[in-house]
């Protein structure tokens, strides 16, 4: 009897995503929604930031994804995996944002200033040597620029596989394409990145070789 009681108490605090979303849909359960946001915000924020190459926009779009999740809660089907549903919402919003940015060709000085401040804060927040931090930031910037040069369909697959650690089969479900297509896009993404990052890769190899002399 006590085991059953403890299980019931535990179920109050750790329900599955699907059950939580069901409660959101059927009962407008705010606590269940808060749990979903808490669990998924970091991953969705990471996806949006890497797809858009911009931390501010990434955060905005990630928040928009949860707003949309809530506002369209009646559309959620319990047979679908919650994660697949949420990834799809976030990716579609990223695509919308990329199209919007392309149309406006927006380069607000506040965006550039905001990003510069974030980079500066990142610089001073570290305890490591400034030179090490600067090199790390340069590497990150090169990777970001290279990713932004990839076509969106390749970038999506790469971000989901490499950074968010989804399996190819899961990515296929999210994007509603065959698994073989996912792997082909990933192959193409990796090959294009190898070319885009080539000068940096070669420079690293030369540095390591000369350091060993």
């Amino acid at each position: 009897m006590s085991n059953g009681l403890l299980t019931k108490i535990a179920s109050l605090f750790a329900i599955s995503d699907e059950k939580a979303m069901w409660r959101v849909r059927m009962e407008d359960d705010a606590e269940a929604f808060a749990q979903l946001v808490s669990r998924w915000q970091p991953a969705i924020h990471g996806l949006c930031t890497r797809m858009l190459g911009d931390a501010h926009r990434g955060e905005d779009v990630a928040q928009e994804a949860f707003v949309r999740l809530y506002s369209r809660r009646e559309l959620y089907q319990p047979s679908a995996r919650f994660s697949t549903y949420l990834w799809r919402i976030a990716i579609n919003l990223c695509y919308d944002e990329l199209r919007r940015v392309k149309r406006r060709k927006e380069t607000s000085i506040y965006n550039e200033l905001g990003e510069a401040i974030i980079e500066l804060e990142g610089f001073v927040a570290h305890d490591e040597e400034p030179r090490v931090v600067l090199e790390a930031q340069e590497s990150a910037e090169q990777v970001k620029e290279a990713l932004l040069q990839l076509p969106e369909i390749y970038r999506t697959v790469l971000v989901l596989r490499h950074y968010e650690n989804l399996k190819f089969r899961e990515i296929a479900e999210v994007l509603e394409i065959p698994e073989g297509t996912v792997k082909s896009r990933m192959t193409e993404a990796m090959s294009q990145l190898a070319l885009l990052l080539k000068p940096k890769l070669s420079a690293d190899l030369k540095f390591k070789t000369s350091a060993n002399l």
Binding site: G4, A30, E31, A34, A136, S139, A140, V143, F168, L193
Partner: protein, 176 residues
């Protein structure tokens, strides 16, 4: 030599192949410089990709330590209630205890969420107020600067006019 499809190589790179296929591919890589070079290149790309880490945003939901403390408090109250009921009055079933505690827990969680939302809202309002104040200060300064320029320009024009009048008088010469 028959090379594996690149899609299989990328599956191997991300460890998504069944173990028998994986062994076959690894055996091929040991004997094929071309495929090994491809794998090495992609492994370097993987290494580079790790350079870009995205800091996780500050969570806006109820912080876990608070939730944990509420959970611990709820568990303690349930255990106390259970023990008291067991040794004193008639037995009370678990459902009744849960039902009686649930509204209080829900209310407490809702209050925490509202407090967090209110704090966020106040922070946004403060930021917007600061931006507006800065904008007004910039506008006021700009207006002052423009007025100064206008005054200086006016003085210069008046001076120039005076000089021109004097030059004109000299040019006409003294009248007899």
């Amino acid at each position: 030599m028959k090379h594996p499809a690149k899609e299989d190589l990328v599956s191997l790179l991300y460890e998504e192949l069944p173990s028998d296929t994986q062994s076959e591919l690894k055996a091929h890589l040991q004997n094929c410089a071309e495929c090994q070079a491809q794998m090495t290149e992609w492994q370097q790309v993987q290494g580079k990709l790790r350079a870009w880490s995205v800091p996780r945003p500050a969570s806006r939901s109820v912080p876990l330590p608070r939730l944990a403390s509420w959970a611990a408090a709820a568990l303690f109250m349930i255990c106390v209630g259970f023990a008291v009921g067991r040794f004193t009055g008639p037995t009370v079933d678990a459902e009744t205890i849960r039902a009686s505690l649930e509204p209080q827990l829900r209310q407490a969680l809702a209050q925490e969420l509202n407090a967090a939302r209110e704090a966020d809202r106040r922070q946004v309002i403060t930021m917007l107020t600061d931006i507006e104040e800065q904008r007004m200060a910039d506008y006021t300064q700009l207006r002052k600067d423009l007025e100064t320029v206008a005054v200086i320009a006016d003085e210069k024009l008046t001076h120039t006019e005076r000089v021109l009048r004097q030059a004109n008088l000299f040019a006409q010469g003294p009248s007899r």
